[in-house]
């Protein structure tokens, strides 16, 4: 019903491209998260969808309707796009009660009063604000204000939800609870949702797909597990995951097409990416520590042990190479200990050092088939 198409969207602010030729399809009912560092263009994209910004070039289609097109000179104003938005600051009107805040959208739509009142009661009790209707926003806690913003979005039952870092002003515990609730309201309403955040945990836990952006360009669009397991380039690999991924620059060794090495370590990746300089992306959990020094040749020294609840983060150093690994909370490593390591070779991602983009076994095979 409410599929969203974004095509070749470009938006420039005083010479800087906030959006550079962005194209994207959002499925009906999908929970799409826009993720990226600040200044990557994710909020600009959301505001273009809302109609609060006018892109320079491109086209946006919502359902059957072209809501923006530079070519056809169409710019549908925000109020006519039939969507709801939760702002980062909530943007609650401080001079109106909770009830009036939520009712505003129904007023504008000229909903008959009895119907509007019924809907209001429904929405307010849904979000758990039933008894607080006559309060003013300044008399509510942060979490309650967040619920008012949510109720305001739900009141008119729009088929599209837009959310601009809605949870960033809440404390950590409340944020966890609200994630679950937001997700519930979204799936109940079956609304196509675009959600902006810079918090990757939020992106991973809530989304059906994640769009990672950088400098106004889309880096990767994929479901959260794939985003983590198979980042499309070194930027995404580095941005997603906590603690950060280990990115190790290696050079092809002699004539062995599977073997790569740098000054400190040597790795056989088991297949041939066809590239002399590669960057290996190894998640902390894909490096294991082998206690004792007899088994392998790769001796690393433990330089930091950081226990963190269920897991322990261990930092290893050898020469210029520093690695981070994740071990169980019951492991008993100490600083200064010398250990051997091994890589879970199947889980490693290989990137061309020059371009930073992912090389997969399949793509190499295709390439070989093509040229051969």
């Amino acid at each position: 019903m409410s599929k969203i198409y974004v095509r070749n969207l470009t938006k420039t602010y005083s010479g800087i491209k906030a959006l550079n030729n962005v194209s994207l399809e959002i499925e009906s009912g999908e929970f799409l998260v826009l993720l990226g560092p600040s200044g990557c263009g994710k909020t600009t994209l959301l505001r273009c969808l809302a109609g609060l910004e006018t892109p320079d070039e491109g086209e946006i289609i919502m359902g059957e309707n072209v809501v923006f097109s530079s070519a056809l000179n169409i710019m549908v104003p925000p109020g006519k796009r039939n969507l709801g938005m939760v702002f980062q600051s909530y943007a609650l009107w401080p001079h109106m009660t909770v009830r009036d805040n939520v009712k505003f959208g129904l007023d504008v739509l000229k909903t008959p009063i009895p119907l509007a009142n019924k809907r209001l009661d429904e929405v307010l009790s849904d979000v758990g604000l039933g008894p607080l209707g006559e309060r003013y926003p300044s008399e509510l806690s942060g979490g309650q204000q967040q619920r008012v913003a949510l109720a305001r979005l739900l009141a008119t039952q729009p088929p599209i939800f837009l959310m601009d870092e809605p949870l960033s002003n809440l404390d950590a515990r409340l944020r966890m609870d609200m994630r679950v609730e937001l997700k519930r309201f979204q799936s109940d309403a079956k609304a196509t949702t675009v959600y902006v955040t810079h918090d990757q945990t939020e992106a991973m836990t809530m989304s059906t797909r994640v769009v990672v952006m950088k400098d106004g360009e889309i880096q990767q669009i994929s479901p959260p597990d794939q985003l983590y397991r198979q980042p499309a380039n070194t930027f995404v690999a580095d941005f997603v995951g906590m603690p950060r991924i280990n990115l190790i620059d290696l050079t092809a060794k002699d004539n062995l097409i599977h073997s790569y090495a740098n000054d400190d370590l040597h790795l056989d990746i088991g297949w041939a990416p066809g590239c002399s300089h590669i960057t290996v992306g190894a998640r902390p959990e894909d490096i294991s520590i082998i206690n004792g020094t007899a088994a392998g040749k790769e001796y690393f020294k433990i330089t930091a042990v950081l226990p963190n609840g269920p897991e322990t983060i261990v930092q290893l150093t050898r020469g210029k190479t520093t690695l981070i690994t994740r071990v169980g909370h019951d492991s008993k490593f100490v600083e200064g200990q010398t250990v051997d390591i091994s890589f879970n070779v199947k889980a490693l991602n290989i990137y061309a050092t020059k371009t930073g983009s992912l090389i997969t076994r399949d793509s190499v095979k295709d390439l070989n088939a093509f040229s051969g």
Partner: protein, 607 residues
């Protein structure tokens, strides 16, 4: 799938988008109206001084009405009367202006330091009293001075000075440079005080403390740290105060005219009453020129520096009071005495004078309620009844309140709309132009502004009727003259309203009119309300702006009071000015009360 076309937006469709946006439409309408009410009058005034008028045949046989002439400018600058008409008054304006400014700055600066930085007691109630002389009409201070130092040589009844000392005061003490400078200084020192106090309040005492820690002595700290930080504000206050003094009309008129002492501003009025309109306009333009130069100077030398020295920072800001030690009480006594003499005494004098049957005769048997509640008596004051029975005065009171009320509301609403456009369309060059046009009236000395409107609305132009002599004209000029202030208030209010609050309403489908009415107006109401009150008080005590435009049917309290003062009916003019002073003080009290309410609400919000 929909197809994607790639061609650029055409110019014509862009234009369509521009004019259908209601904000742009409002902006264009306001631009046209303000250009007509602000820029055109000035051009008109200039044209009047450069063309022959209809009645100028009697002045020069060559006069052809409507033709270009430099006759008036030559007359004013090099004619036989130029000494009396231009150079003498110009010198007087400069001398009184500069003297008054220096005195006002000294008094204002010292008081600001005492109130802001020292541990002087009684600050809370001293501050409002210290601002009183600026709140009451300048005219009131002039009348109070006259009550004390009236000179018998000019005729009329003796003042308090003569009654007490048995001999008349020397003329230099009664009229001319000295009393005008002093009373101007008394009227304007609170203005300088407020500007300097504002700058002093931004000094973080940690700046001074770190100088002390570096080994600097207290004097060196004052000289090297405190003074340089305040200097730009001090200089700005200096120039702005000077700019204000030169436009003063009523005060130098009361204390100068009896002794044939004229400033440029009073000369504009004098020439107009003599029917020498074009010459008056020449002087008005010269006055505007002086005002422009002073404001240009203040921007040139001060504008950039002030911004560079802005020390606003949220964290760790501390303002430590400096202990006066044994000087605490002597300084307190001196400040209190000063506040009493300049703030309260003039009003008491006016009050006492207004209940004396025969002016200048001091004794209990001479007291009367006649000038307040008496019926018409042909033996007293040419049969003018007491203030509370006088039809003219009651009418004028009604006119005053009506004018102040209507003008304040219109000025605030238009100011808010202009402020909205300025803030939200900051990148639109037309919006910036609108902002600047709305500021221009600030540059016109009020009497010159009045003179402009005299020429503009004397005859009907196209669909606009001849508004001279109508109440509407008074409203228009009052509104336009308040715009620079109401736009500033509006900008502060609108800037505080987050853009998202409006965007949320936009997303709900609310049109611009609905958003302005339901979001912007209620959220800016407290700021705009206090701005409205400021305008209300400002219009109420305004004299020089409208003195040239008043006709018997549109009299307001200030012009009636001025008329009585001109006729020598001291008690009545005193009573009237006292009424205006009390009304303005009530207005200021309401304003303080509104301000407190707002502060309380803000605190509530933060907790």
């Amino acid at each position: 799938m929909l197809k994607f076309f790639d061609f650029p937006i055409t110019a014509s469709s862009r234009f369509k988008k521009v004019v259908t946006d209601p904000v742009n439409l409002v902006m264009l309408i306001l631009l046209v109206i303000l250009a007509y009410l602000v820029i055109w009058p000035f051009i008109q005034l200039l044209i009047e001084t450069l063309t022959w008028g209809d009645r100028d045949r009697r002045i020069s046989p060559d006069a052809v009405p409507g033709e270009f002439t430099s006759f008036y400018w030559q007359q004013a600058t090099s004619g036989p009367l130029s000494r009396k008409m231009l150079y003498g008054p110009l010198l007087n304006t400069l001398i009184t202006g500069i003297t008054a400014t220096i005195m006002a700055l000294l008094a204002g600066g010292i008081l600001a330091w005492c109130v802001v930085r020292s541990d002087m007691p009684g600050k809370r109630w001293l501050q409002p009293i210290l601002t009183l002389p600026y709140i009451v009409p300048s005219f009131a201070i002039a009348l109070a001075w006259e009550a004390v130092f009236r000179s018998p040589k000019v005729g009329g009844q003796p003042g308090i000075y003569e009654a007490l000392l048995g001999m008349g005061p020397p003329e230099w003490l009664s009229y001319g440079t000295f009393p005008i400078s002093i009373t101007l200084a008394i009227h304007y020192f609170p203005f300088a005080y407020l500007l300097v106090a504002g700058a002093l309040a931004t000094i973080d005492s940690q700046m001074e403390e770190s100088a002390l820690i570096s080994g600097a002595g207290r004097l060196m700290t004052l000289r090297r740290i405190t003074f340089p930080v305040v200097a730009p504000a001090f200089l700005a206050a200096l120039i702005l105060t000077f700019g204000k003094t030169i436009g003063q009309f009523a005060l130098p008129f009361i204390l100068g005219a009896p002794a044939q002492f004229h400033t440029i501003a009073t000369m504009v009025y004098a020439n107009l009453t003599l029917g020498l309109d074009a010459l008056a306009f020449v002087l008005a333009i010269i006055l505007i020129g002086m005002s422009l130069i002073s404001i240009w100077l203040s921007n040139r030398f001060v504008g950039n520096k002030t911004r560079r020295f802005e020390t606003i920072s949220g964290k760790g800001f501390r303002s430590r009071e400096i202990a006066l030690g044994p000087w605490r009480w002597p300084i307190f006594t001196a400040v209190t005495l000063f506040a009493f003499v300049v703030g309260v005494l003039p009003l008491i004098l006016l009050g006492v004078q207004s209940i004396m049957l025969i002016d200048g005769f001091y004794g209990l048997e001479n007291l009367t309620k006649h000038f307040w509640v008496g019926q018409s008596n042909p033996d007293i004051a040419f049969g003018e009844p007491g203030v509370l029975h006088n039809k003219i005065i009651l009418g004028a009171t009604w006119n005053t309140l009506k004018l102040a009320f209507i003008s304040a509301i219109i000025a605030s609403v238009i100011g808010l709309v202009i402020a909205y456009i300025t803030v939200r369309r900051a990148h639109n060059p037309l919006a910036r132009a609108l902002d600047q046009i709305a500021f221009i009236p600030f540059l016109f000395p009020t009497i010159a502004f009045g003179a402009m409107y005299l020429t503009l609305f004397a005859e009907p132009v196209g669909p606009i009727p001849a508004l001279y002599g109508t109440f509407t004209l008074l409203v228009i000029i009052s509104v336009v003259s308040r715009l620079p202030y109401s736009v500033k208030t509006g900008v502060t209010a609108v800037t505080q309203i987050g853009q998202e609050l409006e965007e949320a309403a936009e997303l709900a489908g609310a049109s611009w009119i609905v958003r302005f009415r339901r979001i912007i107006m209620p959220l800016s109401s407290s700021g705009v309300l206090s701005g409205m009150m400021v305008s209300f008080v400002g219009v109420m005590r305004e004299l020089s702006l409208i003195v040239l435009l008043i006709t018997p049917s549109t009299r307001v309290l200030m012009t009636v009071g001025f008329g009585y003062a001109e006729e020598g009916l001291t008690q009545l003019s005193n009573a009237l000015v006292l009424i205006v002073a009390v009304l303005t003080i009530i207005g200021e009290l309401i304003l303080m009360w509104i301000g407190k309410g707002k502060m309380a609400r803000l605190r509530e919000k933060q907790s």
